[in-house]
């Protein structure tokens, strides 16, 4: 297992600071619901950064880590839908919230494969929404180009997540330490991209 280095720690700390800044000072323009969803998303970034600082990369191999990490795309997608597609917000919240609760329940009761399948569904749907919705908003609704940073953040975080999953299941021959070596930088870049992309008025 790769040992956490000083530069890793610095990157995690900067990630925490950027996400914390967004929570403290970057949400005044949102409605209460949107604010709540984004607080959860960036809160997970803050806590993930701090926990990785304390526990190292071993945390990423914990079986409950994906359950918590899935809160990032879920809450980001819920915030985006609430903000830009409010007419769909209620039904989407019920749908994604329902599958997420199911995924947590399955994690404690069913076997690993079933749990991974349900989690992949909820992670995949919400992750795709985080990637596609900003593109649609930019192309069809004339939002500024910075909204695409949200898609970019979602994309790189998803790629890292897919690599990690494929490596764990044996479909990818890349060394786990190589994936971990890139993780701090990817986490920081994704966090900065989300903060930048969601900072437009």
């Amino acid at each position: 297992m790769r040992k956490i280095t000083v530069s890793d720690r610095i990157l995690f700390l900067v990630t925490c600071c950027i996400a914390a800044y967004k929570i403290v000072a970057g949400m005044d323009q949102y409605s209460s619901f949107v604010m709540g969803f984004y607080t959860v998303a960036f809160g997970v970034f803050v806590l993930a950064g701090l926990m990785l600082l304390l526990f190292g990369f071993e945390l990423l191999t914990n079986r409950f880590f994906p359950v918590v990490a899935t809160l990032i795309p879920i809450s980001l997608s819920l915030g985006l839908v609430q903000e830009y597609l409010p007419q769909m917000a209620f039904s989407y919240s019920l749908f994604i919230g329902g599958i997420y609760i199911l995924s947590v329940w399955v994690r404690f009761t069913a076997d690993e494969k079933m749990a991974a399948l349900v989690l992949a569904l909820v992670h995949g749907v919400s992750g795709l929404l985080v990637f596609i919705l900003p593109v649609v908003l930019y192309v069809h609704y004339g939002l500024t180009v910075t909204i695409l940073l949200v898609s970019f953040g979602g994309l790189i975080l998803s790629i890292e997540g897919i690599f990690l999953t494929l490596q764990k299941t044996g479909y990818l021959k890349m060394k786990l330490n190589t994936i971990f070596a890139w993780f701090p930088l990817i986490l920081l870049t994704a966090t900065a991209a989300f903060v930048g992309g969601l900072s437009i008025e």
Binding site: L47, M51, L54, F55
Partner: protein, 288 residues
């Protein structure tokens, strides 16, 4: 002459537990700033930091003098200057008393009530906690907690000129946070404390009860800090971030109850310090 002083300072430095003293100074500074005192008021700010540093350092040195026999029996502390014989007990006692008196004297010149509060902290820490209770009961940590809460109250007193509800709430928050800090530590160094004959919660009530107490105190500390920050008028942004950090400490405390491990235990110990530091930074930034 210069070389001798340099050598002495190098020798004395481990006597003051710089991390612990630093954290207490930050809490004192936060208490001061929380009363909307301008940080550019150099006389008061330097006075606060200087007098607190001297008093906290003095009480730490006096504790080390009294506890040198315990320290000599614990692996973790056996290399400290007193048990290892690098400094004589009388020399350290003289140093501790001088530094403490200088700190309290400086505090008195700033504000007598402030001096009284930090003297209270020193008295509770050295006399009640260390000399009277530490070797008799595991519950001594309550008094250790009260003395740990004195710097933030003292800072607040220096800023407002009186003891107020917010100051007491902050002190309560530190008092409730202390068990998370100390009990996780006493579980990690269980053998050391057993060897030294110091009663601790894990040795008197078992690991599971200790973990439950840690979880409860974490929740209570998070609530106290939250209520205190709300009463202080911190913006919703800071309160949101505080809630996020509180979720972390409560989550880790619950994890240590349901999935106990040494790694979780020590992680909680470190996170508790980060939580306190983060809360203090937020309160400072939020008030500035």
């Amino acid at each position: 002459m210069f070389a001798v002083i340099k050598k002495k300072i190098k020798l004395y430095r481990p006597l003051i537990k710089s991390l612990q003293t630093g954290l207490l100074l930050i809490t004192g500074f936060t208490g001061f700033i929380s009363s909307s005192c301008p940080v550019m008021n150099w006389r008061m700010t330097l006075g606060l930091l200087g007098s607190l540093f001297l008093t906290v350092s003095g009480s730490t040195i006096l504790n080390m003098v009294y506890d040198r026999d315990i320290d000599s029996r614990m692996k973790r502390t056996v290399h400290r200057p007193l048990p290892s014989g690098q400094i004589k007990a009388n020399e350290a006692l003289l140093l501790g008393l001088t530094v403490s008196l200088l700190g309290i004297g400086w505090a008195y010149l700033l504000l007598p009530l402030y001096a009284l509060v930090i003297f209270g902290g020193l008295f509770i820490d050295v006399v009640i906690y260390t000399i009277w209770l530490k070797r008799r009961t595991a519950w001594s940590i309550v008094w250790g907690g009260i003395s740990g809460g004195m710097p933030i109250l003292a800072g607040r007193v220096l800023g407002t000129g009186r003891i107020d509800g917010i100051g007491l709430l902050f002190m309560l928050a530190i008092l409730l946070w202390i068990p998370t800090h100390i009990l996780t530590f006493s579980m990690r160094y269980y053998e050391d404390y057993q060897r030294a004959g110091v009663p601790t919660f894990p040795s008197q009530y078992g690991y599971r009860t200790t973990r439950i107490i840690i979880a409860l105190s974490s929740v209570a500390a998070a609530i106290s800090i939250g209520v205190g920050s709300f009463a202080l008028g911190l913006s919703w942004g800071y309160l949101r971030l505080l809630s996020v950090l509180a979720v972390g400490i409560i989550g880790l405390a619950l994890l240590s109850v349901y999935h106990p491990s040494e790694k979780i235990n020590f992680g909680l110990f470190k996170y508790a310090s980060l939580f306190m530091l983060g809360s203090m930074v937020m309160m400072t930034l939020g008030t500035l």
